[in-house]
Amino acid sequence: MSRTIDPRRSGSHPFLLLLIVAAHTAMLLTVGLTAGFTPEVMKLGCYVLAADFVGSIVLQLVQRQACTVDFVLLLVLGISTIYQSCFGGAVFAMKHYLFGLMAFVMCQLSYLLVRNPYRAERLKPLWYVLFGILVLSILLFTGSRGIWIDLGFITIQPSEFVKPVFVLICASSMHTQLQKKEWKGLHYVPDNLGMLICTGVIVCLQWWCRDLGSLPTFLAVAAFGLLLRLYYLREKWSVRFMVVFGICGAVLAVAALKFAPAYVQDRLNVDIWADMSGDGYQQCKALTAIAEGGWFGKGAGNGTLHTVAAANTDIVFATISEEWGLFSALMAVILVLFLPAAVLTVPPRSYYHAGLAVGVAAVFMVQMTLNIFGSCNLIPFTGVTIPFLSQGGSSMLASGILAGFLKAAQAPVLSSAERSRKKAQGGRMQKA
């Protein structure tokens, strides 16, 4: 007897969910044995496992063709909450936990928004409007020497939300690349012009805000967007153009370094070991903590790096290394990198989604590189966060939105499927 299988349903993954719960339980057990089974540790355990169970139920109810991103996200968010709760003593990090849950929800919402590449691209004017609103909010509310908007009860970092919007702007389909226009004999693609203008605006804005640490992330997204366009239709970039473009880029980079603000020059030339109590303080402490932690760490809550400024954000890799060991810290980093890597196993079916996936991969990889290499004094200290692991609501929510883009690239919904589903829904409603 033949059996009809609906390929759209992914089936259940109870085994995977059980493994995630078991991994979190093992970590919580380690915390309990190291810091004691205090009420705070019990509270942490209850909340993390409750999130796992609720997440499992939600995934069972709504999961469609791909849920690798959801599983990795569930695993990473639980691990991140446990890490953040243990820095300098086991106290449940409720704020980080709540932002983690919100990031999970944002992932699902952004997936729903961009799962149809045609619709996502049709909404491009909206992305430009959002970009404009965010830029204006930075210009009007943060000031020239800050990146935060303080609302009293909460602080928002609008530049973090620019990242997903910029990724949406940089992604493009082959069809969009076909739409060429002419102005006084010059042929151009409006989409490409829009992307370049947005890149220019971001460079000026970051310079004005003195938030140059985030600039490499945006430039990487733009560079990958540009690279994809090289192979897009009608973008006949000649070798000569590429050489001129490269030379201009190199000249601009050299000029930027030469005329960079004094604080950037200081960071580029600082000898951290000669200035251990000044500009090199955080990096010296971070490197010492990594060395003291060794492969297996000092134990959850036994670290000392939490007293240093930005221990749970900018130098979070070192803080995790100190308490949990280099093995655990590397594992956490690999898990986060696993999110964009998982998309490679299911190649995107549309160029727009491919652009989104590449943009998100660029954001995650560059941010991690800047954070980890900065902590280890391999590059100047930038103060960029590690997605999902560092504390910070804006960063967490923006990372959740970006994870939703990856999910959309893995499980796209094209118009035919949406139409048939609407038809089916219409039929059911008529029957009712």
């Binding site: 390929p7 759209r8 992914s10 993954h13 085994f15 995977l16 493994l19 995630i20 991994a23 093992a26 970590m27 057990l29 380690t30 044995l33 190291t34 810091a35 004691g36 063709q65 791909a66 849920c67 690798t68 599983f71 990795v72 695993l75 691990i79 590449p117 045609y118 389909s173 082959m174 069809h175 076909l178 192979y231 239709l233 009608r234 006949k236 492969w295 297996f296 134990g299 949990w324 060991g325 093995f327 655990s328 594992m331 690999i334 898990l335 696993f338 998982a342 196993t345 299911v346 079916r349 549309s350 160029y351 893995q410 499980a411 796209p412 094209l414 118009s415 035919s416 139409r419 048939s420």
Partner: protein
């Protein structure tokens, strides 16, 4: 009791290190299993795609070209999904687009033109099974497969 366990644990660092190693290994196994699950999702994705794209493929003699994405570029250019290395073909010759459940072919202003069933097309045209697309001297036939490529 709890304090005694914690004290014992603190006094025996080997135990703590072993437990940390177990946590790392456990999490890695978890990640590995998710990776294996994503492999299954890929096969499922292929089946869904076969349904979305109606399982259409292009055949040219013994060669079959699966239509694995919503936009398929045909031309001489190295980035083309279906490369037609003939002088008559333009670098960016034609594009196949899956939209509203139909595959459409669109000529990209090529010099030699794109012909469907012997008729030169000037605007997007919906493709049906057994339609013959001629680009230069190469003829590609629309066939219905199982959504699998030749290599699979």
């Amino acid at each position: 009791m709890s304090e005694a366990i914690v004290r014992f644990f603190a006094e025996t660092p080997v135990l703590r290190e072993a437990l940390t190693a177990v946590v790392v290994i456990f999490t890695d196994i978890c990640a590995l299993m998710i990776l294996l699950a994503s492999g299954r999702e890929r096969r499922r994705g292929d089946r869904i795609w076969a349904k979305e794209g109606k399982g259409y493929m292009l055949s040219c003699g013994d060669i079959c070209y699966p239509l694995g994405a919503a936009e398929i570029l045909i031309g001489r250019h190295i980035s083309a999904d279906i490369r037609v290395q003939e002088a008559e073909a333009s670098r960016f010759h034609a594009i196949l687009v899956l939209s509203e459940g139909n595959w459409r072919i669109e000529d990209l202003g090529s010099a030699g033109g794109t012909y469907v069933n012997g008729v030169r097309i000037h605007k997007p045209r919906i493709l049906r099974v057994n339609d013959k697309i001629r680009i230069g001297s190469r003829t590609l036939t629309v066939i219905k497969g199982g959504g699998r490529s030749v290599g699979e």
